[in-house]
């Protein structure tokens, strides 16, 4: 390896070149994804359309259909992976996903309620966002009231409880929903999809994801320390409770925003931080950007598959599960530790 043999004071930074390479790969993938589709475009046509020239029909395809969709895939993938990396560090478990505290179940219930009440799309998205935030809010509130020495386990179990309740309410609404009109919409939403996404859908989610990423980036060192557990983090000088609250709030904001946009897309937040950790190590300062970039690439590829491999749209959640679940088994087989 030869790492750190010459000047051991400066830690080697393999992460920087890798981050650059990922960014380049992301740009190329995005460009490729804009070309692919029922109305196939050449690189020249895409470049022309991007600069506002050439075939008007190609311009409409690029600006109104492909770019919003590619942008949404990048945003959702980056956001879920970043939130997943944060939750995994916080809960000291590499097999944790961003919906561990019930954000997906809550957002699902919010969206299903919105569809059930035949609300407009923007209101359904708002309802999903609120549902996700409220679910985690309830977990945090009850968690603060329950006196138990193991804070982490308390939160995880409360997440299971709130998730189960939200799931039950969602099921009830599905039974009561109109089977021809509402039920297909509900099912599709719960499996996640970026079909029919427009720029107007992305715009509210984007700033919220960015606002959520700021505290995660600022607290990057403390998040490492927090992954040692509460007692040790506090003995090292970190106000563990307060820091954890900020990280959970930020990661939940991110997850709820993109879940409102794309529906429930599972597995990304669980699997991608793993791949990132293998490449750049567990240090959060490198893990966060690497997770976001790989997550963006991954979901872009999956979403491009979702809209091209069949005549109908394949729900995103189906594809991410088909890819993610075997990977999860492989991780388990490699014997990484769970809760100690």
């Amino acid at each position: 390896m030869g790492r750190g043999t010459t000047a051991d004071v400066s830690l080697p930074r393999p992460g920087l070149t890798l981050t650059g390479a990922l960014a380049v790969a992301l740009a190329l993938l995005a460009f490729g994804a804009v070309m692919i589709g029922p109305y196939a475009l050449t690189p020249g046509q895409v470049l022309a359309a991007l600069t506002g020239q050439g075939d008007p029909q190609a311009q409409i395809v690029v600006w109104n259909i492909r770019l919003p969709r590619v942008g949404a895939a990048l945003l959702v993938g980056a956001a879920l992976a970043a939130a997943g990396a944060s939750y995994q560090a916080l809960f000291r478990n590499p097999l944790v996903s961003p919906d561990i505290l019930g954000v997906s179940a809550g957002a699902g219930l919010g969206a299903v309620a919105g569809i059930f009440l035949s609300l407009p799309v923007a209101a359904i998205q708002a309802s999903a966002f609120v549902g996700g935030m409220v679910a985690v809010g309830v977990v945090m509130l009850v968690g603060a009231l329950v006196r138990n020495t193991d804070r982490t386990l308390t939160l995880v179990l409360l997440g299971v409880v709130v998730g189960a309740l939200a799931g039950a309410a969602t099921s009830l609404l599905k039974v009561m929903a109109d089977p021809y009109d509402q039920l297909p919409a509900i099912t599709f939403w719960l499996l996640g999809s970026l079909a029919s996404i427009t720029m107007r859908d992305i715009l509210p989610a984007l700033p919220m994801v960015l606002v959520g990423l700021i505290p995660l980036a600022l607290l990057r060192w403390r998040i490492n320390v927090l992954s040692l557990g509460d007692d040790e983090a506090r003995a090292l000088g970190v106000e563990a409770g307060r820091t954890r609250f900020v990280v959970i709030a930020a990661a939940t904001l991110i997850t709820a925003s993109v879940t409102a946009l794309a529906g429930v897309v599972g597995w990304v937040g669980l699997v991608i931080p793993h791949i990132a950790r293998m490449l750049v190590g567990p240090g959060f300062a490198r893990l966060l950007p690497a997770s976001a970039l790989i997550g963006a690439c991954y979901l872009l590829i999956v979403d491009t598959l979702a809209r091209t491999i069949a005549a109908v749209e394949v729900p995103l959640g189906v594809l991410t599960a088909v890819i993610g679940a075997p990977f999860f088994v492989w991780l388990l087989a490699r014997g990484r530790r769970g809760w100690s």
Binding site: G4, A235, S340
Partner: protein
């Protein structure tokens, strides 16, 4: 540096220990001994401010610990937990660097000076070759030394160690003990104060430590090792006959009776745990 008087400790509403007084000065090693369940760990967590006390106060350099921020406490006391397996494969030097956290701003990362301090701490313990190894794959003894290096990097005058030799093999135990003795009796600088818990009374003799012998949540005896660790005290606290003998090299060792007929085998130690 640390002083606690008449401390009541415990979780929940009922204290499990009362009347505990602890004091440590620079250059001094205080060895906490007592059977399982006597409240050693609870006392540790209270002394570190991780657990609120039920009564009495812990003073760090004259200030009550309840009035200090976590960072201020961490600059005064370093905690060396039992060697553990972390969930993520940090490099050993990254684990040591975490000792610098209390000296950083909330949003900062360790800088050059912090890295230098971390490498120095590892070099001082003779484990610098481990710096870029995966901490989660080190042996128990190596991990314990890395955690001690982290406490050194923390630059706190007092170091609190929770059974630093537990689960270490014979050789590693001796190596860790030698480092502990070194920390307190460093001739080149003001020695650290060290509080450590152990299950092995021989270690208190080896370290020439002051001893706090605990039993049922209280202090049974306190003072220099030869005065506290007597046949009678050890036999009462551990509930089986113990004799203290002096070897030909002059070191004292404690020898418990292994005879099965010992009638007191069912007492304190087991019922308390």
């Amino acid at each position: 540096m640390l002083e606690a008087r008449d401390l009541a400790i415990g979780y929940g509403v009922r204290p499990i220990g009362t009347g505990l007084s602890v004091a440590v000065k620079p250059g001094e090693i205080l060895c906490l001994l007592g059977p399982n369940g006597c409240g050693k760990t609870t006392l540790f967590r209270t002394l570190l401010g991780l657990l609120p006390s039920h009564g009495g106060t812990v003073l760090l350099n004259g200030r009550p610990i309840t009035a200090m921020t976590r960072a201020a406490i961490a600059r005064a006391v370093a905690y060396v937990p039992q060697a553990h397996a972390p969930p993520f494969p940090f490099e050993a030097v990254e684990v040591v660097l975490m000792g610098r956290t209390a000296r950083l701003g909330a949003f900062s990362q360790p800088g050059k000076a912090d890295r230098a301090a971390a490498h120095d701490a590892m070099r001082r313990l003779g484990i610098h070759d481990l710096a870029h190894r995966d901490y989660s794959r080190l042996s128990g003894g190596q991990r314990q030394l890395v955690l001690i290096a982290r406490a050194l990097a923390q630059e706190a005058a007092l170091i609190v160690m929770d059974e630093p030799t537990a689960s270490l093999d014979f050789g590693n135990q001796a190596q860790v003990l030698a480092q502990v003795a070194d920390l307190a009796r460093d001739a080149s600088a003001e020695g650290h104060g060290v509080i450590l818990s152990t299950h092995d009374p021989d270690q208190a003799f080896a370290l020439d430590a002051r001893v706090l012998l605990m039993c049922r949540g209280g202090v049974y005896a306190e003072g220099p090792a030869p005065e506290v660790l007597t046949d009678a005290n050890l036999s009462t606290v551990y509930g089986l006959p113990v004799t203290v003998e002096t070897t030909s090299s002059g070191r004292r060792v404690c020898l418990p009776s292994l005879s099965q007929s010992a009638p007191t085998m069912t007492s304190n130690a087991f019922t308390m745990a």
